[in-house]
């Protein structure tokens, strides 16, 4: 079935097949051809080829392609360029350098070409984000954009105010609204301050406040930001005051108030103390006042207005007339002599004698009036002044200042003495309470210790025939227990005496037993008054001796002295204490000591306190009192403790890690059962 279309197609097909092929050169041919041309200088420019080897490209074309790429993307890395153009990186870099040199809007940074327009768009994005967040940290932006912070800063600074509506401060970007808000906070804080402050403390509290307000979303604001805003406001006179070294701020409110206060004080009283000035916060009173009141007199402790001089002169004359200030005048005369010497020595002849009198009397007057102020004796002040006024009738220049001022002195002296006595009484009252407390404390402690000592003293009698053991036992008691009693007694006596004489004593030492070195002890007891001292010395010396009885005797002696206030009660037994201690004891060594003590108490009716060395002797003595098994338990236990101690000493020397001996319950049982018969 052939139709026209088919025939037509057939014909076309034949035609197509018969058509001549276009002749093509192979790629190799072409490359050789081009190279030949290049050699023959038909092509006299550089020819670069792509990495794939399929294309030739001229340098200009490469540059053109690079530029178009940068224009398109804004920011291209050289490596990407090498990929897109298909040319080796070396050539791309070369052409890039040309492109950047030719075009001022481009910059080559860390292997990327970036155009200015790109920065503009980036700045716009940053601005949008800034308006949303109100503050952004530059570091965050820089990491997001994969550029350095310095570059970002330079880019942003160029565009602050135009594209980026914000403020760059200390590595952060802020919106104007935020800046205004923080400015308001700074202004409020600065205006709220009324005393000189260190601004850094203020900024740190503002920082905390901001963090509380903003919560987690806010970025931490630096103190320099606040300081910058503060400086701006200061310049614009929104905040008034003076700034020293950029940190110390004195509001003008404060300085004004200060000045007013000083002025009013000075005008009211015609004099002003340096101390008052210091309290008001002026560190250099002399310079300050002299700059303000040039005609003022600068004395040692105060400033005095010249008008006061006249008042004082008048007072002096009046006092002389009344003849009521002898002692005062005597004192004044001494001072005058001194001042005269000074003035004569310095050779200032411009001061006349009357001026000396006035200035010296000024000093004395102000001293007395201020002293009287402190004692709250207002009547004396007003009467003093009345005397002063009365004296205004007399004329200046009295030749014998001594008799003139004597009445005044006589009047003031008793008043001063009275006030002193009252103060004294108050201190003594206070001390009395303390003394009573010390007394009670001391009595209690010494009672306990002395009781124990008596207990143990009785037991010593058992060992009188055994010299070595006896020596050891005495020495132990003298060395361990006796000094603590003696020392606390001495120290408390000293405190008591001090309190009695009205001295202040600090309270920190009153709760514990004390330990003095022998030298300290002797020094202390020598300070005790009279016979107390002698007896106390005897006690102290007995501590260095060998026998306990000497100590006990000396101590009893001391107690009987009328100045000593501690009584020593007599012995009475209390065994129950020891029994409970034994059941509760966990340390193997002290258990042994206590058990021995208990057993002794039981068998001899005398409690024994023995150091380690004497324990063996003590145990041996118990042999005839205990039955065989019990005695064996005791000796075994003793040997075990000795071994344990030796082990510990060999290993670490730390006795506190002795731990638990297995025989302990047995020993406890032994002690407790035999103590049933305790009387």
């Amino acid at each position: 079935m052939m139709d026209d279309e088919l025939l037509e197609l057939q014909r076309q097909f034949e035609f197509a097949q018969q058509a001549k092929s276009s002749i093509r050169l192979s790629e190799r041919n072409l490359i050789e051809f081009v190279q030949k041309l290049h050699e023959l200088r038909f092509i006299d420019f550089d020819l670069l080829h792509t990495v794939s080897g399929k294309e030739y490209i001229t340098p200009e074309q490469l540059r053109y392609e690079i530029v178009s790429e940068v224009e398109k993307l804004g920011r291209v890395s050289l490596i990407d360029l090498a990929d897109t153009t298909g040319v080796d990186l070396y050539h791309v870099e070369k052409q890039t350098e040309h492109a950047v040199a030719d075009n001022p809007g481009y910059m080559l940074i860390q292997g990327e070409i970036i155009s200015e327009r790109h920065w503009d768009s980036v700045a716009e994005e940053i601005n949008e984000r800034l308006q949303e967040c109100s503050q952004i940290a530059l570091a965050e932006l820089a990491t997001q954009l994969h550029i350095g912070v310095e570059l970002l800063t330079s880019v942003l600074e160029a565009r602050l105010g135009t594209v980026v509506k914000g403020r760059l401060e200390g590595g952060q970007l802020y919106t104007p609204a935020y800046v205004a808000r923080v400015s308001a906070m700074v202004r409020g804080a600065a205006r709220g301050i009324t005393v000189p402050t260190n601004l850094s403390a203020l900024w740190s509290s503002l920082k905390h406040l901001l963090q509380e307000i903003d919560g987690a979303s806010g970025v931490a604001v630096e103190g320099s930001f606040f300081q910058g805003l503060f400086n701006i406001q200061l310049k614009e006179c929104q905040i008034l005051g003076s700034l020293r070294a950029g940190i110390y701020w004195t509001p003008s409110v404060f300085s004004n108030a200060q000045k007013e206060c000083i002025d009013s004080l000075f005008s009211q009283n015609s004099f002003i103390n340096y101390e008052t000035l210091n309290k008001l916060g002026i560190s250099q009173p002399v310079q300050f006042l002299q700059s303000r009141y040039p005609d003022v007199l600068a004395l040692v402790n105060a400033f005095v207005h010249p008008s006061l001089t006249e008042m004082v002169n008048a007072a002096v004359e009046d006092a002389i007339e009344h003849g009521s200030c002898d002692a005062f005048v005597k004192d004044l005369y001494d001072r005058l002599e001194k001042e005269l010497e000074i003035f004569n020595a310095s050779g200032s002849s411009s001061m006349s004698l009357s001026d000396d009198v006035s200035s010296a009397s000024d000093t004395k007057m102000t001293h007395d009036s201020s002293a009287s102020l402190e004692l709250n004796q207002t009547p004396s002040e007003s009467t003093g002044k009345r005397i002063v006024e009365k004296g205004s009738k007399k004329k200046k220049g009295i030749e014998d200042p001594l008799t003139a001022l004597k009445p005044l002195a006589n009047y003031l002296r008793p008043l001063l003495l009275n006030s002193m006595k009252e103060k004294w009484k108050a201190i003594l009252m206070e001390n009395a309470n303390k003394m009573k407390q010390i007394l009670d404390d001391m009595q209690r402690k010494v009672d306990e210790a002395f009781l124990n000592l008596q207990l143990y003293e009785k037991a010593l009698e058992l060992f009188d025939e055994d010299q070595s053991a006896s020596v050891v036992l005495h020495w132990h008691l003298l060395g361990a227990l006796a000094p603590s009693i003696a020392d606390s007694l001495f120290i408390n006596l000293e405190i008591y005496n001090k309190l009695k004489s009205g001295l202040q004593v600090d309270n920190s030492q009153n709760s514990e037993l004390f330990y003095l070195s022998p030298g300290e002890r002797i020094g202390l007891v020598k300070t005790f008054p009279g016979s107390l001292s002698k007896k106390a010395i005897a006690v102290a010396e007995s501590l260095e001796g060998k026998r306990l009885e000497t100590f006990m005797v000396a101590l009893r002696d001391l107690a009987e002295d009328r100045l000593a206030i501690i009584k020593f009660c007599t012995f009475y037994s209390s065994p129950y204490d020891l029994i409970s201690q034994v059941s509760a004891e966990t340390d193997p060594i002290s258990l042994l000591a206590k058990v021995v003590s208990l057993l002794y108490g039981q068998f001899h009716n005398k409690a024994l306190q023995a150091p380690g060395r004497a324990i063996s002797v003590a145990v041996t003595r118990l042999k005839d009192k205990l039955d065989e098994s019990a005695y064996k338990v005791l000796t075994d236990y003793r040997e075990a403790t000795v071994t344990l101690l030796a082990l510990v000493a060999a290993s670490s020397g730390d006795v506190s890690t002795l731990g638990f001996l297995p025989e302990m319950p047995q020993l406890k049982g032994l002690a407790l059962t035999t103590s049933q018969s305790w009387s």
């Binding site: 079935m1 088919l6 197609l9 057939q10 197509a16 097949q17």
Partner: protein
């Protein structure tokens, strides 16, 4: 289309695809034939412009079910030409036409009895997947062309095929 030469692939994609699914005994065979011609014309034009013209064929009967022609291959700057023929099978286009080069019968192992070329394992699945879009042009491009490129150099180098300029004729059994 893995395992194909990239040039083959690129060429293949440029040959127009056929739409009519009709065998020689179907009513729409005429339509199919027209499409075949169109594809062949396009393929030939492509070859001409690429300077890669390598076959001449024409329909041996008016129905267009038998085709004959020539194909050639240039190896070492020498052109080796062969006769070719093929029938359109009844189950066309589901079944690809079996192209024959009678001159090379029994000269190569890559040939069935009667000179039918033996194609790679990739051919049949690809043809089946693309039925009925592939036609005669595609069969030539995918089947014969790679076969020639693979076998002729071996045949020439082994001396099985000699150039016509050489006096020796092709060895016949």
């Amino acid at each position: 289309m893995e395992g194909w030469d990239p040039n083959t692939k690129s060429t293949l994609t440029q040959i127009p695809l056929l739409t009519v699914k009709a065998g020689p005994r179907d009513g729409a065979w005429a339509q199919r034939l027209k499409e075949e011609y169109k594809a062949l014309i396009a393929y030939t034009q492509m070859n001409k412009s690429n300077d890669n013209d390598w076959f001449r064929i024409s329909a041996a009967n008016p129905e267009g079910t038998r085709w004959t022609g020539k194909c050639w291959y240039v190896h070492n700057l020498l052109k080796y030409e062969f006769d070719l023929q093929f029938d359109i099978p009844v189950t066309y286009p589901a079944t690809a036409p079996e192209i024959e080069l009678p001159q090379l019968d029994r000269k190569t192992q890559k040939m069935y009895r009667g000179g039918k070329i033996c194609l790679t394992v990739h051919f049949k699945p690809l043809w089946a997947k693309n039925c009925p879009r592939f036609g005669i042009a595609h069969a030539l491009c995918l089947g014969l062309a790679p076969w020639l490129a693979a076998e002729v150099p071996i045949l020439v180098d082994s001396g099985m095929v000699k150039h016509k300029d050489d006096a020796a004729s092709s060895a016949e059994a």
